[in-house]
């Protein structure tokens, strides 16, 4: 159901072009390399395409059904899907457990379990697979569409998911798959993690989670422990506490969120405290796949930026070790003559505003060769006249040569786009702030499998 060649959209309206089912039908029909069939019991034609009265009337096999009909009709539609041998369904429709119709939802689950039929939802946006297909009932021109890449997102909230896609796009993070699971009646986080573990396009798995069922959290951490891809979690609902807190010290000290957070940390699952951390962690872990111990070398063109970055490293549990005399002498030797006299080669290395591309390359190469340094943060201020747009691409070769991750900070302005892309297209993460760059390094230190 994640690689469909044929999709049926059930519940299209013959009269209302803005009906969610029509939005989904149109976008798949016009923009994706997938054969799509509209379904409505009344039959007829939609934009001169035949509308099938039932899913059973569709002449070819159907890999995925997108169901956007009223809640009370969904059970019958699901039966038709099962009978036809459809590969799976996304149930977009609301009006189930979230509106106190647990009964309707239970019926769907029973039916699907018995037939071993997978479905996502109900009450969800469903699947977004960049350049392949999506089931979001949001017009394509309204959403920000990240490029294909290696990060998969699973989200209980459709709204948060679409917003994360905006952030991913701004930050140049590519997406392998995004799934909004809504009421997660049948397919839940764990099922998708199993799928994504096997998915060759996915390197990093990111989740937005509101809560687990009884003991599902334990199953979640046990599952993730067996997976060789980094898992990042953003948890919502951090303040709710247990009710019998007053009678037991342990219960009062171990509130629901604290348990969640500490158990995830214990298992090496990366918890992002907010959206900003989420995007930073995803970007860094999609580029680099090996953990670091956390000794950071910093290169800057401004003393102040160097100090701010050192402070941020300390706050985030990273260290910025001093360089030995021999290492410093080696790096100084490699700089241009003009710079040798003025550059400060403590860590952070301050190349000053007079530095040019060659100096940055020389300093980063030298710093990457220092055995005690396992990651380099490069603070680039493109308004320095010596920096050219080629620097990003040149820098990316250093990682490939030395195998030490390089993280850049470049202010994200349209004007600097070419410099930024020089890094990003060559798989070097670029943060839009100093803190962002430090968070990217923190992700490499904290993740268990990278």
């Amino acid at each position: 159901m994640f690689h469909p060649e044929t999709i049926a959209v059930v519940g299209v309206s013959l009269t209302n072009d803005r009906h969610p089912a029509n939005v989904i039908y149109n976008k798949i029909h016009l923009r994706y390399p997938v054969k799509v069939y509209p379904v409505n019991p009344r039959g007829g034609f939609l934009q001169s395409n035949r509308v099938y009265p039932s899913i059973g009337d569709i002449p070819s096999a159907v890999d995925l059904a997108v169901i956007a009909a009223r809640a009370e009709f969904v059970e019958e539609i699901l039966k038709a899907c099962i009978e036809k041998g459809v590969g799976g369904a996304v149930i977009v429709s609301g009006g189930f457990a979230e509106s106190n119709r647990t009964d309707l939802q239970k019926n769907l689950v029973c039916l699907a379990r018995e037939a071993d039929f997978p479905f996502i939802g109900p009450n969800c946006l469903g699947i977004y697979a960049p350049n392949r297909f999506d089931t979001f009932f949001l017009p394509g021109e309204r959403i920000i569409r990240p490029n294909p890449g290696s990060v998969a997102i699973i989200s209980q909230s459709g709204g948060v998911l679409v917003d994360q896609m905006v952030k991913f796009s701004e930050q140049g993070v590519g997406l392998s798959l995004a799934v909004s699971i809504g009421n997660k009646a049948l397919i839940r986080e764990l099922d998708l993690i199993h799928h994504l573990d096997q998915d060759p396009d996915t390197r990093v798995i990111a989740l937005y989670i509101e809560g687990f069922e009884k003991n599902e959290g334990r199953l979640f951490v046990e599952t993730v422990r067996g997976i060789q891809k980094p898992v990042i979690v953003l948890k919502a609902g951090k303040t709710a506490e247990g009710s019998r807190a007053a009678t037991s010290h342990t219960a009062s000290l171990a509130g629901d969120y604290r348990v969640f957070s500490e158990v995830l940390a214990q298992q090496g699952i990366l918890e992002a405290r907010n959206e900003f951390e989420m995007v930073s962690f995803c970007e860094s872990l999609s580029c680099y796949h090996r953990p670091i111990s956390g000794n950071i070398g910093i290169i800057t063109a401004s003393g102040g930026h160097g100090v701010l970055a050192s402070d941020a490293c300390t706050t985030h549990g990273l260290s910025v070790p001093q360089l030995g005399d021999a290492d410093r002498a080696g790096i100084r030797e490699s700089l241009s003559e003009r710079l040798r006299a003025i550059a400060s080669l403590q860590n952070p290395i301050d190349l000053t505003g007079s530095a040019e591309d060659d100096d940055f390359v020389a300093a980063a190469t030298g710093l990457s060769q220092v055995p005690g340094i396992d990651c380099v943060i490069l603070l680039l201020l493109p308004y320095s006249p010596g920096i050219s747009s080629d620097l990003g691409a040149r820098m990316s070769y250093i990682f490939r040569g030395q195998n030490k991750p390089l993280i850049a900070y470049v202010p994200h302005h349209e004007k600097y786009r070419m410099l930024i892309e020089g890094f990003e297209l060559n798989n070097v993460p670029v943060a839009s702030s100093i803190d962002g760059a430090v968070l990217m390094a923190e992700a490499l230190r904290r993740c268990r499998p990278c």
Binding site: R244, T250, L253, V259
Partner: protein, 226 residues
Amino acid sequence: MLNLKIEEILIQAQKSGWVMEPEAKRLLSMAGIPVPALKWIKTESGALQAARSIGYPVVAKVVSPEILHKSDIGGVVVGIDDDARLSEVYRRFSAMKGFAGILVEEIVTGMEMIVGAKIDYQFGPVVLVGIGGTGVEVYGDTALRMAPLNENDVSSMLSSLKGAALLKGHRGSQPVSISALIRLVMDFSALVMDLSDHIESIDLNPVKCTRDKCVVADARILLPKP
């Protein structure tokens, strides 16, 4: 793996919803967790005899299914030196609501730690270790992990505490036996895994630690609401 005697203690406690201290300690000691020498006595003369056999000074605590927080109402007296003082305490306790006897106990000293567990809705049994005593919730210096715990888990929990340096002996104070503490927490973790369907939370607070042993000075086991 729950043995019959432990099961019996839990069944007995169902009515009040929690296991009273003497029974909680009996349960712990069956699981190999060190508790002080103690006697649960229902007569004054028996209490005096118990104190003499344990050896003065002793601690006395009221036992009552209706009193969960003993020290809040003066139900704990430490440093009782002789028969006269113990008799006086016994008479006072016997007037307390739900009086079911007196716990006469050997005095244990040492650094105060907390070892606790709760059955979390999402993650099941979790174990907490930290700097204990009455200020435990004020300082909140505790580490928390999903059970069962192995030796490395416990060891890294202890070193993650802000007060980790206190365990090693700080400015002339005695260090505590880390190996005894790790042993206790691991035995506790195993017990909690066995009891996970029958309990809601357990507080061992304080656990008193010295350079050669760790002993549970107070214990409270809360059962799930039926």
